[in-house]
């Protein structure tokens, strides 16, 4: 009798541990997800300053600037799914990258401290977003493993947990950067 009760208690505790670890993993995914959001917002906030500074020195890049401003407005307008936001970010990212290259033609702008600060903050935020995405992917992999492997899969079914897709690296980021290509733009 005691053995049976003992076994029951043991199984119950194991159950609690698995259940809690699943919830924890799920929360980690949500957490990592919102971290990307925070980083993206931080980056979007840089845009108006960047545009202001560049405007003062250049007269010919109006179309690029307008495009960047539009993209930012879209990205911060709300009511966007995470995927749409990520796509806008990728587009924005490449537009700003293009802008950074054209800056080479404006020595005055290149020497402007404000602009240099913005440039470093931009690269910093780029790396931070990459880190946040990697964290998200790691949390997702961890969660997926937990819900697909035994015995986690039994609980996952009851909780209605399903597999989450990892974020793919944008196609452009996968390419090796070629200096020639950059300057041909």
């Amino acid at each position: 009798m005691i053995v049976i009760i003992g076994l029951f208690v043991f199984l119950f505790i194991i159950g609690i541990v698995i259940y809690n670890s699943l919830i924890g993993k799920r929360n980690q995914v949500t957490n990592a997800f919102s971290a990307i959001d925070v980083m993206l917002k931080k980056r979007f906030d840089l845009i108006p300053n960047l545009v202001e500074v560049v405007k003062q020195y250049t007269n010919y890049e109006q179309s690029t600037l307008t495009k960047i401003v539009e993209l930012r407005a879209k990205a911060t307008s709300g009511n966007l799914t995470q995927e749409e936001k990520a796509n806008l970010d990728t587009e924005l990212s490449s537009a700003v990258k293009g802008l950074m290259v054209t800056v080479e033609n404006y020595p005055d702008l290149k020497a402007n401290t404000n602009f240099l600060n913005l440039q470093t903050t931009w690269t910093e935020s780029e790396e931070q977003i990459a880190a946040a995405r990697r964290t998200y992917n790691s949390a997702v992999t961890d969660y997926n493993n937990a819900i697909m492997m035994f015995p986690g899969n039994m609980f996952a079914g009851m909780l209605g947990y399903t597999k989450i897709e990892v974020l793919a690296t944008p196609e452009e980021e996968r390419k090796n950067i070629s200096a020639k290509e950059l300057f041909n733009n």
Binding site: V17, E124, E127, A130, N137
Partner: protein
């Protein structure tokens, strides 16, 4: 060019003067050893011929002379060592980088060793020497020899027995890191205990708020366990490129290195059993390969800054 020739001439002069000191020290040490041998010999003979008086008095004379000589020359040997390190090693360092300088009696302070979080055990005995500082382009760095130990006390029949165990012996390298971060990230070699602890904290329960960071580079994850209080910051520091660079650096070291990123600095611990920058006593200072090994380790440390790309200052930190 002229200054280079001059400095070479100067170095040669210094070596010649030091060589005279070295010979004197080596000879005195030899005399001390001979006296010690003589003492033992007299002792054995006196026991053999059963004449204890000879043993007592015959031993005392060479023993006292030997001890006095030994202590007097020991002081000179210390001066010789320090002069060698400052004048010879110090001058040779400039051939690698003008900013390099050695301070033989300084090292990595114990509090810095502890706060670097490279090792979890606090040392009970701590020795450090030969601090070398320098700047490579925009990055300042320093490294020193460190020997940290902890003790265990066991009760035996004859009282307490104290045993000393090494926590770390080798060189600790520190450099100003090129990115801003707020919490510490530590990369330690993967041992059985560390893997078990990592599995436990990931799957069952994690102590405190330091978490294991699972990185996507499998080779890196097989060699090291990474701990941090902030998963994103850890990945911000350990970018895919950085992980590759750390692996390449680790391959050059015989034993697995430990790395920590803390207080806007990075620390790397290289376990090494050699004692570097020590002058020879029983062999000539004029040997052509005198400094080869010492300089190669300095060059190695100096190159870390480039290998880990610490001079790329595009992340908002000057």
């Amino acid at each position: 060019m002229d200054s280079e020739i001059n400095s070479k001439v100067n170095l040669q002069e210094i070596l010649n003067t030091l060589e005279v000191d070295r010979k004197k020290i080596a000879e005195t040490y030899q005399t001390c050893y001979i006296l010690a041998g003589l003492t033992i010999l007299i002792l054995i003979i006196s026991i053999f011929i059963r004449f204890p008086a000879l043993g007592v008095f015959g031993c005392l004379v060479p023993l006292i002379i030997g001890i006095v000589m030994y202590f007097r020359i020991d002081d000179e040997a210390k001066k010789y060592k320090s002069s060698y390190k400052i004048n010879v090693v110090g001058a040779a360092l400039k051939s690698i980088n003008e900013t390099l300088a050695i301070t033989p009696l300084s090292g990595l302070p114990e509090y810095e060793f502890v706060s670097s979080e490279l090792f979890t055990t606090e040392p009970d005995r701590y020795k450090t020497q030969d601090l070398i500082t320098g700047t490579a382009d925009k990055t300042s760095f320093w490294f020193a020899e460190v020997h940290a130990e902890y003790k265990t006390e066991t009760q035996t029949k004859n009282g307490t027995r104290t045993e000393w165990h090494t926590i770390f012996e080798g060189i600790i390298f520190a450099a100003d890191f090129n990115k801003n971060f707020n919490v510490s990230t530590v990369v330690r070699p993967k041992s059985f205990g560390a893997s078990l602890g990592a599995w436990f904290s990931k799957n069952v329960f994690s102590f405190g708020n330091t978490e294991v960071v699972q990185l996507e580079n499998t080779e890196f994850d097989n060699k090291f366990v990474t701990y941090s209080k902030n998963q994103i910051e850890a990945r911000y520091i350990l970018t895919p490129a950085m992980m590759e660079r750390i692996l390449a650096l680790n391959n050059k070291s015989d034993e697995t290195i430990s790395i920590s990123f803390i207080h806007s600095k990075m620390y790397i611990a290289f376990p090494l059993s050699n004692n570097y920058f020590e002058p020879p006593i029983h062999s000539s200072l004029l040997a052509p390969d005198l400094l080869t090994e010492d300089l190669s380790i300095v060059q190695f440390m100096h190159d870390i800054v480039h290998e880990l790309d610490l001079n790329t200052r595009i992340w908002g930190k000057e």
